[in-house]
């Protein structure tokens, strides 16, 4: 049985770090559903969120095998935790005529913002849980052809449950590109 495992980790911001982490998953034949990575307040560290289809038996082992990588500060499994999960999507809907105003009303329910408009299409930006995004997409595609880019899930453990070290803000944060 496979599950969608949600892994949050802190890695050194060094060449090859992403390859090493991804390699632990891919060498086992696990499919990575999404992976986001960006530097933290300490620019020498990056925070990564991975969602992967993993055998239920292998979850604990996977965390330990990622944790032992030399560049990995720590990895935690947030699958069963009440972590905050968010994802951003840009959705372009091709819609003309009467349906345009009704689309905007529905987008409003999901707090999706219009970030680009043309006579033939709207581009919406929406943030939310992956489930919320899925629900919106289900509605929008009834209006016409859609195009979409999703960021992949980002997760942050709740304050009391956080097991990752907290990177400290450094002046270098602003000076680096």
């Amino acid at each position: 049985m496979t599950v969608h495992q949600l892994i949050s980790l802190l890695v050194e911001n060094k060449p090859g770090a992403l390859m090493r982490v991804a390699g632990v998953l891919t060498s086992r034949g696990y499919n990575i559903e999404s992976l986001t990575v960006a530097r933290t307040l300490d620019p020498t560290l990056s925070a990564m969120t991975i969602v992967a289809q993993v055998g239920e038996q292998g979850r604990d082992l996977l965390i330990k095998q990622i944790s032992r990588l030399v560049n990995v500060i720590k990895a935690v499994d947030l699958t069963d935790s009440r972590a905050v999960r968010r994802e951003l999507a840009l959705i372009k809907v091709y819609v003309e005529g009467d349906k345009r105003s009704s689309l905007l009303r529905e987008a409003e329910i999901f707090r999706a913002r219009v970030v680009d408009a043309s006579p033939k299409a709207y581009t919406l930006e929406v943030t939310g849980s992956p489930d919320k995004l899925n629900a919106l997409i289900g509605l929008l595609h009834a209006y016409g052809p859609i195009e979409m880019v999703r960021s992949g899930a980002m997760a942050m453990a709740r304050a009391k449950q956080n097991k990752l070290p907290v990177p400290r803000y450094s002046e270098a944060y602003l000076s680096e590109p």
Partner: protein
């Protein structure tokens, strides 16, 4: 601060790390390094194939515990190293591999002899680097040695672009390694887990210790023996653990697993407390996992937290260096022996007696009849020559298992076997590295005819350096272990296992300028071996053995270890639990 070239910084940093030998093969992008080596005291050993550079570096590392160093050029040089690196990764052997890379300006343009060494070696190493800045070179070399030799040892590859090797940069020779933020070592065990382990051990009626390569790499043999003596518990070893306890120790019950001893396999099936130290519950040990040690609770000691619960759930897991853990454990066992240890001592002694009886009644046996040399007889004779003191390097297959069964080892770091990856062609180059490491010790390389053909070019290295290595080819004219499986599980359909056209050993040796010979008759074997070992230089002895022999006992792949086949046409043994 001196200004040196990248190539000089590399060699000075290797020397500063205590490297004695570099096993390597030059090429286009490593020319600057070889120019430095031309007049540097650091000894370079020119092998005949890069794969053998990695194996020779392992031979050095396995014999000494220090990191072995190998070097190759970009492209094919680096890709040829790969098997030797994966091999070191599987067996947790410290190796530092240096590879040249095409100049940065050419990377990604499919330059001549360009390969993505950094990407290719990612899964072949414990850690790897691509150095593109001369300012990071010395630090990187020091990190590589530190990572290779600390914690769970393993191979580390440093890929260096040619422009870095040529560039000039400052070198102080006093660089300190920056702390590695993501690399945490946990050598000392938690006090609480040690206490749980003590309780676990004294609560057992039938304790059983299963020791592996982790004991060797941590140098914990004395502590392991002491632990077994304090508990009065039998001790079996993995193929990596051979030598951790002297073979002659009364608690020693040989190897467990696929070709393990009767006592070791029945013992693990019957025990109620299984103590794994520096082991990884490999499938060749456990056979069918759900039938492995079915009556036992498990105490697992390993320096790598990812090993605990990987294959077999541990009731007590202790993360730490085997030596540190065993020291703490032994101290607590001694303190509690007269109190907690007394309660079940009667049961433990009866269990030990039962195991010793199994060991007496079911030694490794073979059919001594027939007109050919029996491979097991060859191993017995080599054992007599070694007396438990020679370094023995082996390849992979039947001869490896017979050597593990029949040869004694009085101490660790004498036995060298490609155990996890199972690479044929390991034995001869490993012997090269071992002999450089230990020039005063007898080094015997026992190989099969198949594996020998893979490593034959190293006769050149052996001849050039007049390395007095004794190569004993156990020649059954067949890929024996594959043939054994075809005999037992594929209806005797012997597909592509005959090794024909094996060269005449004395002519082959002579062609390299060394001594060699062949022996085919049992009556001539003693004299042939005596001659081989009396020769002051290297010797290649081809021993023609009976081709039909199979390795027993044998647990069929996926079978339970107590269902081992003890001898040809025999019914599987049955364990009597709780007898």
């Amino acid at each position: 601060m001196a200004t040196l070239s990248g190539a000089q910084i590399l060699i000075e940093s290797l020397a500063r790390e205590g490297a004695e030998f570099v096993f390597g093969y030059p090429g286009g992008v490593t020319l600057p390094v070889y120019d430095v080596l031309y007049s540097h005291p650091l000894r370079h050993v020119l092998v005949r194939h890069e794969q053998n550079a990695a194996f020779a570096a392992q031979g050095y590392a396995r014999a000494t515990g220090k990191a072995g160093v190998c070097m190759a050029t970009s492209g094919p040089g680096a890709t040829n190293l790969t098997t030797g690196l994966v091999d070191a990764l599987m067996d947790s052997i410290p190796v530092v591999a240096i590879t040249g890379q095409v100049p940065q300006a050419l990377i990604g343009r499919d330059a001549f002899q360009e390969a993505d060494t950094f990407g290719i070696s990612r899964s072949a190493t414990k850690h790897n680097y691509l150095v593109k800045d001369i300012g990071e070179l010395a630090q990187t070399i020091h990190e590589a040695f530190y990572i290779a030799t600390s914690g769970r040892p393993g191979p580390v590859l440093v890929d260096i672009t040619k422009d870095v090797l040529i560039a000039a940069g400052p070198y102080s020779g006093t660089q300190r390694m920056e702390p590695l933020r993501g690399y945490r070592l946990k050598c000392e065990p938690d006090e609480e887990s040690v206490e749980r382990a003590v309780e676990f051990l004294w609560n057992a009626d039938r304790p059983y210790i299963y020791a592996g390569g982790g004991v060797i790499s941590s140098g914990a043999s004395a502590e392991l023996v002491r632990c077994s003596e304090l508990l009065e518990a039998p001790l079996a070893h993995t193929v990596m653990g051979l030598g951790a306890m002297p073979t002659g120790h009364p608690n020693f019950i040989s190897m467990l697993g696929m070709h393990g001893s009767y006592a070791a396999n029945m013992g693990v099936t019957e025990c109620d407390a299984l103590v794994g130290i520096g082991v990884r519950f490999d499938d060749r040990v456990t056979g069918r996992l759900d039938r492995f040690a079915p009556n036992a609770k498990v105490l697992h000691v390993d320096i790598d937290a990812a090993e605990i619960n990987k294959n077999r759930r541990a009731d007590v897991g202790v993360v730490g260096d085997a030596k540190a853990v065993l020291r703490r454990l032994n101290a607590r066992l001694e303190e509690t022996r007269a109190t907690l240890g007394r309660e079940r001592r009667g049961a433990r002694l009866a269990w030990m007696e039962r195991i010793r009886r199994m060991k007496r009644e079911h030694p490794f046996v073979y059919d001594r009849s027939g007109g050919d040399i029996k491979p097991q007889a060859l191993m017995e004779k080599l054992d007599a020559i070694s007396g438990g003191e020679a370094i023995v390097t082996v390849d992979v297959g039947q001869h490896q298992m017979w050597a593990a069964q029949y040869l004694r080892f009085n101490r660790p770091r004498l036995w060298q076997s490609s155990s996890g990856l199972g690479s044929m062609g390991f034995g001869v180059p490993a012997a090269v590295g071992a002999k450089f490491a230990c020039p005063d010790r007898t080094v015997i390389s026992i190989v099969g005819d198949g594996g020998f053909m893979m490593s034959m070019p190293e006769l050149g290295t052996i001849a050039t350096n007049r390395l007095p290595v004794k190569i004993i080819v156990m020649n059954n004219n067949t890929l024996g272990m594959v043939r054994q499986w075809q005999e037992l599980f594929y209806d005797k359909r012997y597909s592509e296992v005959a090794i024909e056209s094996f060269p005449d050993a004395s002519l082959l040796a002579a062609a390299f300028g060394i001594s060699g010979g062949s022996v085919t008759q049992p009556d001539d074997l003693d004299a042939a071996l005596e001659h081989a070992f009396a020769e002051p230089g290297p010797y290649l002895l081809n021993v023609q053995v009976t081709p039909e022999e199979c390795v027993y006992p044998m647990v069929p792949a996926g079978g339970a270890v107590d269902e081992m086949i003890l001898q040809p046409d025999a019914e599987p043994a049955e364990a009597v639990v709780g007898d």
